[in-house]
Amino acid sequence: MSGGAGPAQGGLAGLAPMLARRLASSAVTLVLVTLVIFALANLLPGDAAQEMLGQSATPEQVAALRHQMGLDRPAALRYVGWIAGLVHGDPGQSLVAGMPVREIIAERLPHSLMLAGLTTLVAVPLALIIGMGAAIHRGGWVDRALNIGTLSLVAIPEFLVATLGVLVFSVWLRWLPSIALVSAEATWGETLRSCALPILSLTVVVVAQMARMTRAAIVDQMDRPYVEMARLKGAGTARVVLRHILPNAIGPVVNAMALSLSYLLGGAIIVETIFNFPGLASLMVNAVTSRDMPLLQACAMIFCGAYLMLMLVADVVAIVANPRLRAQ
């Protein structure tokens, strides 16, 4: 029980220290992530020098290039150099393209963010509607139909969804382009049209999980006495779900959504490949094959950072929605 006097409103003022703590722990996590990424990148067999020169190169040539690229320095030294660069906002020089990593990423990141953002705009409302619809009609035919629908969507591999999408919308109906061309000159309308199929494919991948979690979180609340109380006050279904159940279900729902959405940046590789979309995920795969460690590490850091951000947002939303957590 919080004190006697005054309106004991769990105000948002108490949120700041909590936010600071979470940010600090995210920073610590990021530091650990740099270690893991660096160690894993160094576990990859071969290096950029070997990949560039090919199999016919003599060991002397490889060693010379390695020295030129700085790859023969001790790992600890390379790690410190990398971190120092990161702190100053410079993730280094791409070994393969010979360009600053920052420039390469600056070109690709907006595309990925746009794709992820648009997919979120479509998928989140859709998942909420499907989840709430299924929960309200729990046990009825609407629920079963939505359940089977979402389950089948989860079960279909995304390359199949993307390919079928191309077959139907590009080949048969000829409505949408099969390749996502993104350029600075294109208008929003053109961009949307060219990105429609990638967005559709990604939405299919993430919406099912989110809808199922939404349904589960709402159903979990539906048998609570306060829901019966709301009904006996004369509240209609919409009011019961939106005003009474949703504030209590929002924590788990947002958490599930953050998990699903974190997939949209790094996990979009198959969709990016099929539609030849110039995003970050395909960039990272290229960096792996060419052993372009600075680029690879930078991409990995972006994905981890985005993941941590989403989790932080989910936690904050859950706390803001729950007065009991807020008071702590």
Binding site: Q9, P225, P323
Partner: protein, 598 residues
Amino acid sequence: MGARVPHVRVENLRVLVPSKGGDIAIIDNISFAIGRGEVLALIGESGSGKSTTALAVMGWCRHGSRIGGGQIFVGETEISALSEAELRPIRGRRIAYIAQSAAAAFNPSRTIIDQVVEPALIHGLMSRQQAENKAVSLFRALSLPMAESIGNRYPHQVSGGQLQRLMAAMALITEPELVILDEPTTALDVTTQVEVLKCFKAALAQAGASAIYVSHDLAVVAQMADRIAVLKQGTLREEGPAAQVLENPRDAYTSSLLSAVRPAPVAAKAPCDAAPLLAIRGLVAGYGALRDGVPSVPVLRDISLELQRGGTLGIIGESGSGKSTLARVIAGLLPAAQGQVLLDGTPLPPAVAGRSRAQLRQIQMVFQNADTALNPAHSVAGILGRPLEFYHGLKGDAATCRIAELMELIRLPRDLIHRPVRELSGGQKQRVNLARALAAQPQVLLCDEVTSALDTVVGAAIMRLIDDLRRELGIATVFISHDIHAVSAFCEDVLVLYGGAPVEMASREVFNGASHHPYTRLLLSSLPAMDPAWLGRVQPPVPTCAAAQCADLCRFVQRCPVAVPGLCDRVAPPVHAIPGQRWLCHFAPTSVTERDQA
């Protein structure tokens, strides 16, 4: 009532639940009528259908059940003929509901005021501002503290008694013509219950609303009801004016309910002067880190007691008084910070982990809620077999044999042995829970609120069973209970805890007498009597000291009607003792009585 048309008429009501072999009637052919402004009580045990009947009057059926026959009229409206959409404008507007547990019936994520004004807003009766003003005036009428601001809190920020009254405000804000109260004080302490009952009675009278009051507690019903309907297994056993049902019940079942409320005292054991079996000396315990031997959240302070072999000790007090904590300390689940627990003169290691298997076997605990204490997927044999193997190394035929004996001991049929626990009834589960403790063949049995989850009749049977076993097997028993009638009937000694301090310890003869610690007096005076005039008579004590809480002072000083400023809020109370009674107060119990009357 004569020719007046009753306000609420229920005729031949049937409520059906679908099942594999066709519908089952859980309410069968119930009829009653309530005059305008009257309160009808529905009483019965759990499963008797009292809540189902009350909710059916709102057209609400739980868990897939439905009204399968009969008619319900509220005023001119035939509730039983309305669709869900037609019922919505009536629910919360003409008929309001007050639920059993306000803590569960309030939405934890929204402020109280939001929820209190909601019925008025849903039905478009007034603006939000008007509704909030009305809510504040209702809060005042229900004597809630800080009426202006209490609504800005969240449900977890107010006490249970306050929340129950806030729910009454939520029900009354639309000035309904009928209020349904579903066990509204069952979850409260007796002292809180008195205040809440007074508020409800005054508020209902002022609103002029008719009411259906669902309860299993006959003494509470006696205070509230004009008429009483007794239900058993979905059928109406008896219905009539409250005084007639309570004083001259026509039905045998009503008589058995009435007699279960006040169990007859059991014969005391011959006193023996042998060394005590269980002794507790200077016990201090609580939660959190220890500092100078005192935990940061102290719960129990300076408890000493003795229990003879085969003796019974009852521990009573409000929730939060430390009753269950004391049992946990004796069992070693919560290690004591100071003091000793001695068994047969030997100090026991404070924590369970430090005790030997033989020491563990000697002290067994029967937990409050058999539903959660027993794994629902395990069979009765599995649950009883485990302590037999652990403490006595019994396996195979020997164990089967002993399980059969135990089943006989707790008077359960032997063919239940292989049934999973979830298929048993509440009373059967509590018997298995008891048998699990008995399987260890303990010397001390700790019974923590073992009957509070059970109906009165079933609970009384469990108490009698424990008492018989204690006599037969010579087990010393500690009863923790908020049921003061049961404790004073079954226990040879009674310990009253307040705020973790032992305010009074008395033998049964003394306890059933008149002189008590002020807190014990408050507890006893808060027990509802069968007399319908009791609620009007009982006066909540007026505190005389506005002292701050301080560790060494009397814990009760803030609520005490006889505390003397300058003494009770300055000096720690001394322990007084006379044969058969020990108390923690500056004044002798007798003088308290005299002061009270002065």
